[in-house]
């Protein structure tokens, strides 16, 4: 009740801020829950949790890929789809756009975000680098799911050199 009132005071921006915070909390809890349930600390168990998170992101991405594109069939080529990912999808989910998109024009794209919202609260710099992959799995799945609804099979991986900047690498699978 109180949050709804606060949202009304701040107007539309306030409510959107509340949505973003809710998503961050939910994501943090998801990662904590999936990690805690796994009693096997070895690499096999960790991979399971990562793939579960990625799968959840994939399903959400599929739904997003259906809902976000507007009325026009605007994607004439792959690069347009990637630009849509960087601008519209990122803005809808993280309230900001992707900072840079690079490609080798042969099916590999690197999307760079200098201050990724899900990492920004953790640390700044090189601390906690080993903990980072589980926080990126959901987002990798999200990108893969959105691409799959729009007709592109891909493989998405993430890498972090220094928090909170991270890179998502999208490799298009051509069968």
């Amino acid at each position: 009740m109180r949050t709804r009132g606060a949202g009304r005071l701040l107007g539309r921006e306030g409510r959107r801020m509340a949505d973003a915070a809710l998503f961050e909390f939910l994501h943090t809890e998801m990662v904590a829950e999936l990690w805690a349930q796994d009693p096997d600390p070895g690499p096999g168990g960790q991979k399971m949790s990562l793939s579960v998170l990625e799968g959840m992101g994939f399903r959400v991405g599929q739904a997003l890929g259906e809902r976000l594109p507007r009325e026009t069939l605007a994607f004439r080529e792959e690069l347009d789809v990637l630009k849509f990912l960087c601008k519209d999808v990122w803005a809808a989910v993280f309230q900001k756009q992707m900072d840079s998109l690079r490609t080798n024009h042969q099916g590999t794209y690197v999307l760079q975000d200098h201050s990724f919202p899900l990492l920004i609260r953790m640390a700044s710099g090189l601390q906690y680098l080993e903990e980072v992959p589980k926080f990126l799995a959901f987002t990798c799945g999200l990108l893969r799911g959105t691409l799959s609804t729009l007709g592109i099979k891909s493989l998405v991986t993430a890498s972090v050199a220094a928090l909170p900047a991270c890179k998502f690498q999208v490799v298009i699978q051509r069968s």
């Binding site: 399903r59 739904a63 259906e66 809902r67 009325e71 026009t72 069939l73 994607f75 609804t149």
Partner: protein
């Protein structure tokens, strides 16, 4: 008012098909199936033409003597096909467009349902069924 409404997946199998129950339903299924060729032709034609604005609504696919078939394709290559009675000349283009828009919105809602697996038949969505019923001819 439509006589038959179908939702076809990207791989060209039906996700949802419903027709007015009085007629021989196979005839409608067959019409939808043959119209898929026309849809594919229109999609590939759109891809080649360097048009700035590409429409989701494909328009009249082909008219037969009793029925007219309209098509619509989404960004995820899911196709909607609608068969209407040709004698119903009061139906205008923008009415068909609005029917397709409603279909698209309902389909998006079904997709966002976490209990729905993409690629399955749309069977348990009451909202979707209700929306299609409102679009079909009321036959008592």
């Amino acid at each position: 008012m439509a006589v038959c409404v179908a939702v076809i997946a990207k791989e060209n199998y039906p996700l949802y098909i419903r027709s007015v129950p009085t007629e021989n339903e196979l005839k409608f299924h067959y019409m939808v199936h043959t119209s898929l060729d026309v849809v594919d032709e229109k999609i590939s034609a759109m891809g080649k033409a360097l048009v700035d604005q590409r429409e989701l609504y494909l328009g009249l696919l082909y008219p037969t003597e009793d029925y007219k078939v309209y098509g619509y394709v989404t960004n995820s290559k899911v196709k909607f096909v609608m068969v209407v009675d040709a004698s119903n000349t009061a139906l205008r283009d923008n009415e068909i467009r609005s029917m397709f828009r409603k279909l698209h919105n309902s389909y998006t809602d079904v997709m966002c349902n976490p209990f729905y697996d993409p690629g399955d038949r749309i069977q348990s969505s009451r909202a979707f069924d209700g929306m299609v019923t409102s679009m079909m001819i009321q036959v008592c």
